[in-house]
Symmetry: C2
Subunit: 453 residues, 2 copies
């Protein structure tokens, strides 16, 4: 009698294997497409990309054949919970938008409004392939809760306006960082979030700069959104907002400057030297007629630029691919040059360059070994996606959220076959509708701040 | 014993009833939303809109509760079959695009390529709510066949370049009009389609003007797409393209001028006086860096403007709602005025104004009694559509083809629950892929014409 030899022990080294997928990896220097490869995921990261990996080595297998895999998009500037105000204030000036519509409603938001608003925004972002967002908002612990619950990745900057309680608010931000930096399995990062040079005093911005130096935290704020803001700053300080921030020491550490539509004088040189990154939000910037971040000029000056959605109250969507498309269209249009911002560069803004802008370079924004497994699988089966001559061009110019089949963050599926796995969408939509109606009914005379005319 | 009284005879006066729908009707002067109304359809037209119509009076009922109904979009300038070349020529100049990529491939297209390419384009248009398109292409009888087969509505202008066979081609266009005008149950109209002042000789354009006068046919052509075209025309004729067309008598009858991105001198006044309509194709125009139709200035001058997709070879999509969104963004941006081209006006460009531009005013482009029942039913259930504060704003700024549940043309459902009813989508996509690959392999040295450097 012979003994049956023991079955060979195959080590299940991988948590997940995506088989036979077309992999699009995009960097600032170009796009590469690998056809029909396997992606193995372990410990939340991409462990291996190879022509063929034994499926037995993975605990779970996702069929990738006929799908395109690309890195999840990075939203470099958002106010996710503002989705509750989507569509309430259209075709109005920036002043009216803030003073008469948004700020009066925002003052009525309670903790749960922010939580459910953030869930709405996160649901939308996941459904359109955004896997990381850099958020600027108040009641941030409730957004952190929504990030934790849903499995998305975020860099959270609690918004602070100048005013009586500013010192306490800064202390609260530092305590928030203490509590949440690296939380949710490393998916949450924290930044400091002074609102802007036009709503924060120079003294306060100086103290934020000191706190940032002391803690190593990056700073995320709004800068030079409109020509009027720049003029006001010049009048008050004799400097551009960028010049003022530099003088206050705020550009000494890592900074994510949202919008920056109106660089003047030597602003671009200052930003490039300081290594300040910029989050362009083209849809909001065009829609509010406020001027658009000069992306091409910034990139030529060596500035890192990523793309943001701003809040859905002005942007109406949180779709970073839409932002990439708009940015490419506007660059080509304004330069009268169809070769400007080619496909790969526009996609890089939404992925690898965006990752660099939010301080996650080398960690997210690419599909390469060692990167976090933040992956979108897309199936090009709608007529507008076909025929498929060039997957990168189809992604930039034709793709839609409806193509997305699967979204992973840190290797965990958050979305499969058009359905959210980590949130109850009908419940989120119902809560959002009810809360939005209540907030618009009870809009108060109070404001978060007053936007200068 | 008493006789049972005969059951009351209810006349089935309506072919179809849409029940309890929110109806958005848009004209140049505003948008009106009627909540929870019934729409009765008979003989392909909207027979009645009322708060409550007995369902027994209709042969078929579609549940409209919780849906938005709006008029199908009008695509004022398309080359539907060019979808076969989607994505083949990105980030190149207009000259390279025509001379090195598109025209060499187009010369290889046979009848069936045009038919299947048109089916691909029609499949896309139906799926994004376009119910009428104004087409400019060659081998038009095969596009007419695709229109007939699929149930969509179209105004077809067979493209003619100047050259040896131009007289025969004009005669063929007139024969095409003879055969197809009013065909497919009135869904097909015909226009004359000289390509443009830069590819057609003045003599030929004069003979087209004569033919148009003689037959009452409208003329659809490309005008002043680039600054270079205008400069070349001035050099050759001493006039702008618009001035030249007027001198040749071509603006005496109804004309649909595509693009017209570079009106000069008194072009706008000439166009307004002549009643010439313009088809703006913002995505192509931005993407090719060729300059964009000045929609606001044209509307201020009293010119009718509609929106077009151009071909997907340059535009990548045939989505007229995307065109409306881009037009509104660009108007607001370029005027630095967030109140420019408000929601209702932008939607009107895609519907009622577009209908006027293609000569179908009073027939399509609105949801009102007596209009053709070209209706889109949309369900706002994606997170980016919610909460719903303002249905018109949601439609313009957030909606996507994925919201569309039902598309009717002349009262006939062409699309239900995300599926095409009048074409076999997998077959169309497969044919498109195979034909596109063959055409890009066999690109010849021949060209349809030569685009001047």
């Amino acid at each position: 009698m012979t003994e049956t030899p023991p079955a060979p022990q195959i080590e299940r080294a991988f948590d997940l294997l995506i088989r036979g997928v077309d992999l699009l990896d995009v960097t600032g220097s170009g796009a590469s497409l690998q056809r029909g490869v396997d992606i193995a995921i372990a410990g939340g990261k991409i462990a291996a990309i190879a022509p063929s990996i034994e499926p037995e080595r993975a605990r779970e297998v996702i069929e990738g054949e006929g799908r395109l895999a690309h890195a999840g998009f990075v939203n470099c500037h958002s106010h996710a919970a503002m989705g509750l105000f989507r569509g309430v204030a259209e075709d109005v000036t920036v002043q009216e938008w803030f003073n008469d519509h948004i700020w009066p409603m925002e003052t009525g938001m309670d903790d749960e409004d922010v939580y459910w608003g953030a869930l709405l925004g996160i649901a939308e972002m996941i459904a359109c392939g955004v896997t990381t967002f850099a958020e600027h908002y108040f009641k941030m612990e409730h957004i952190a809760r929504a990030v934790t619950d849903t499995g998305i990745r975020a860099e959270l900057a609690p918004t602070i306006f100048s005013g009586e309680g500013e010192a306490e608010e800064l202390a609260a931000s530092l305590a928030f960082a203490e509590a949440w930096q690296g939380a949710a399995g490393g998916r949450i990062g924290v930044m400091l979030g002074p609102h802007s040079p036009y709503t924060c005093s120079p003294d306060f911005l100086r103290s934020v700069a000191g706190a940032a130096r002391g803690t190593g935290l990056a700073v995320h704020l709004h800068v030079s959104e409109t020509a009027e803001q720049v003029a006001l700053c010049r009048e008050q300080s004799g400097r551009t907002p960028v010049g003022l921030l530099q003088e206050l020491g705020l550009l000494d550490g890592p900074v994510l400057a949202a919008h920056l539509a109106h660089p003047q004088d030597d602003d671009l040189q200052l930003l490039a030297r300081a290594g300040t990154a910029v989050g362009c939000c083209p849809k909001t910037e065009m829609k509010l007629g406020a001027g658009v971040t000069p992306v091409g000029a910034m990139r030529a000056a060596g500035i890192t630029v990523g793309l943001g959605s701003d809040g859905a109250a002005s942007n109406n969507t949180l779709d970073i691919l839409e932002a990439a498309r708009l940015t490419a269209l506007l660059e080509k249009h304004e330069r009268r040059d169809p070769t400007a911002l080619p496909v790969a560069e526009a996609l890089a803004l939404a992925t690898s360059e965006g990752a660099r802008a939010v301080g996650l370079e080398g960690k997210v924004g690419r599909l390469a070994e060692g990167y976090q497994a933040d992956i979108v699988l897309r199936r090009f089966s709608r007529p507008s996606d076909r025929p498929l001559h060039d997957a990168a061009a189809t992604l930039l110019w034709s793709a839609a959220p409806a193509d997305i089949e699967t979204v992973l963050v840190a290797g965990r599926p958050l979305y499969r076959d058009g359905a959210h796995l980590t949130l109850d969408l009908p419940e989120v939509l119902g809560q959002a509708q009810a809360r939005a109606e209540r907030l618009s009914r009870q809009a108060t005379n109070r404001r978060m701040a007053y936007y200068p005319a």
